[in-house]
């Protein structure tokens, strides 16, 4: 009898776990799933933004070239950063951007480069942006 009860408990436990795991796969446009019923990872921080690091290797230049370095959301045009920088200096930025941001554009004068924002960092430089003139 005790063994039977244990078996039932085990089945119920497994079934309960299965339901919880399945609840992570909430169907699209499911408007009757209360927040309290979903399984959320313990480390999830509920943030709709993320830290994004940009590091730029400076370019050795003959003269000191200073200008505005900016980082822009390609889709919305939102400027995440603007600052005065020397082209020969390395640059390291820690930005907070929406996780929904698809791509970023960095600008320094006429130099413009686009990058995917799906990760958390980009390493770049000022090279390969100029055609032979």
């Amino acid at each position: 009898m005790k063994k039977t009860n244990f078996l039932w408990l085990a089945i119920l436990f497994v079934a309960g776990c299965t339901k919880k795991i399945e609840s992570a796969n909430v169907p699209l446009a499911s408007n009757n799933v209360p927040l309290s019923s979903i399984l959320v990872d313990r480390n999830f921080n509920w943030s709709a933004t993320k830290q994004f690091n940009i590091s730029v290797t400076g370019l050795r230049t003959k003269n000191t070239i200073k200008g505005t370095f900016s980082v822009i959301d390609v889709k919305t045009g939102t400027t995440f950063y603007k600052g005065l920088h020397t082209m020969s200096d390395n640059l390291s930025l820690k930005l907070t951007i929406p996780t929904a941001t698809d791509s970023l554009q960095i600008r320094f004068g006429s130099i413009q480069k686009n990058y995917s924002a799906s990760g958390t960092s980009v390493q770049t430089n000022y090279l390969s942006t100029l055609s032979n003139k």
Binding site: L28, A29, K133
Partner: protein, 487 residues
């Protein structure tokens, strides 16, 4: 008359002169892209460190096999430079004697003409050349061309182009140590055009066209948080117990403008808090902590909407007293600022009730001069529950302030654990507050936010990996019948 005027304008345009110097290129960067980025241009020229393809140092330049006498077939073109008197010099040798029919170096200059094309290159003028005896010599040869007097006298920038031409045979040019008398005058950050004197009225180093404060040397840039649109903070105020998850107990629009100077340090933070809804009976306050910034780094705080509640003590600079990090209490009591009208149970939360205009609080935090860089700004917003200063609600995993009663952590439904830096999440890992980087509507009273935002659960269940835009107004993302309509 027109010629005189043009000359005066030209002199003014190119007034940035430096001491005479030499512009040289020797390929020792080992990276042709680096020299291209510095405005050198190459046609059918590469860099090599192979045995037999170098002259001095580790690297030299080499041409492709010449097959034309056209100067544009194979060349090295300088950046813009202000030429001075002297000789253009270079060292060359040939890869092999081979069976060449001819080999010739042509020296040309290119005039500046802003209206000519994107690169502002005007006339191409061939001014000198040298031909090589056959069979070709594989030993080093020093070549020089005097800089033409007409381009020195003009005072205008020029480019020098050296073309390595010929036909017959396979022997290539090996080239090194090109030296041009003149001052470098290209701007690698402006399409390699000549350096222009751009207006900088306040002299802070940021040109007027890029300076948000062109007449103020202490300010240069605005950085908007979260962006062009205002952001939205949504709070539940029943902490440490879970509530109804409508996330409208206090709904605040917000916008921060971080003003920085030419040193990229923060001058001031202009904040805007907009009380949009109060779906609560509690009288809640709102503050921000600037994480990791000492209150001493703040010069002053103005514009906050507080009426000296008993729980609020402020320092002389306007920050809250008794805090390790700078805290600014922006709103002591949202219900005092936007009281619910007679007949309303809430403010802008129940359909059918009188809708009130949102109230905007504009505040300003001034920083000590050149002490705080922009990447040190980390804004930690929080709600103060029902005039009890000890009860705060922060975004998930954002630390409480020193005034919070951490003894309540881990009680009721709260599952905060200080040692794990886990804050304001319940036992099911659900938050009491959300921060969305856009202006978004909110649920009507007592309606679970997941009923209004249909993909929120998918986003949360995936730990934020899918439907990162769940809060945006995209077809299929929202149920409008659950969203409060401001009408």
């Amino acid at each position: 008359m027109n010629k005189i005027l043009a000359a005066i304008i030209s002199m003014a345009l190119f007034s940035a002169t430096t001491n005479a110097q030499t512009l040289s290129i020797d390929a020792e960067s080992g990276n042709i892209a680096e020299d291209q980025a510095n405005c050198w241009a190459f046609g059918e020229i590469g860099y090599s460190s192979k045995d037999g393809q170098t002259i001095n140092g580790k690297w030299s330049m080499y041409s492709n096999t010449p097959s034309s006498l056209d100067p544009s077939s194979c060349y090295i073109k300088s950046p813009w430079l202000k030429p001075v008197r002297g000789k253009i010099t270079l060292t060359i040798k040939f890869e092999s004697e081979s069976d060449a029919k001819s080999r010739q170096i042509i020296a040309s200059y290119i005039t500046y003409n802003a209206a000519a094309n994107e690169s502002a290159e005007g006339r191409f003028v061939r001014f000198d050349s040298t031909s090589f005896d056959l069979p070709l010599s594989t030993t080093n040869q020093e070549i020089n061309f005097p800089v033409p007097e007409e381009i020195i006298k003009s005072g205008l920038p020029y480019k020098i182009q050296l073309s390595f031409v010929g036909n017959g045979g396979t022997s290539r040019y090996i080239i090194d140590d090109i030296s041009l008398p003149g001052n470098y005058f290209s701007d690698p950050s402006n399409n390699c055009l000549p350096i222009l004197d751009k207006a900088d009225t306040d002299g802070d180093g940021v040109i007027d066209s890029e300076d948000a404060y062109p007449d103020d040397a202490t300010r240069a840039y605005n950085t908007l948080i979260p962006g062009k649109s205002e952001g939205t903070l949504m709070f539940e105020d029943y902490w440490p117990r879970t509530g109804d998850y409508d996330f409208n107990d206090l709904v605040l629009g917000y916008r921060y403008t971080i003003v920085t100077n030419a040193n990229n340090n923060v001058v001031e933070l202009k904040g805007q808090a907009i009380i949009r809804a109060i779906g609560a009976n509690f009288e809640n306050g709102f503050g921000i902590q600037l994480d990791n910034l000492s209150p001493e780094l703040i010069k002053s705080v103005t514009g906050v909407n507080t009426k000296s509640p008993s729980w609020l003590k402020v320092n002389a600079n306007g920050t809250e007293a008794g805090q390790t990090y700078a805290n600014i209490i922006v709103i002591d009591n949202a219900s005092r600022i936007v009281p619910k009208p007679a007949g309303n149970k809430f403010v802008n939360a129940l359909p059918g009730e009188l809708v009130l205009k949102p109230a905007t609080i504009n505040f300003e935090i001034s920083f000590a001069a050149d002490k705080v860089s922009i990447d040190q700004i980390a804004i930690n917003p929080y709600l103060i529950i029902n005039q009890n200063r000890s009860n705060e609600v922060h975004l998930a995993d954002k630390a409480p302030t020193d005034r919070a009663d951490t003894k309540q952590f881990g009680t009721q439904d709260d599952d905060s654990k200080i040692e794990a830096k886990r804050f304001y999440k319940d036992k099911n890992n659900l938050p009491w507050a959300l921060d969305l980087p856009a202006f978004v509507p909110y649920s009507i009273e007592a309606k679970n936010i997941t009923s209004a935002y249909l993909l929120l659960t998918k986003w949360a269940a995936s730990s934020g990996r899918v439907y990162t835009d769940w809060y945006l107004d995209i077809p299929g993302y929202r149920d409008a019948s659950i969203i409060f309509q401001n009408k």
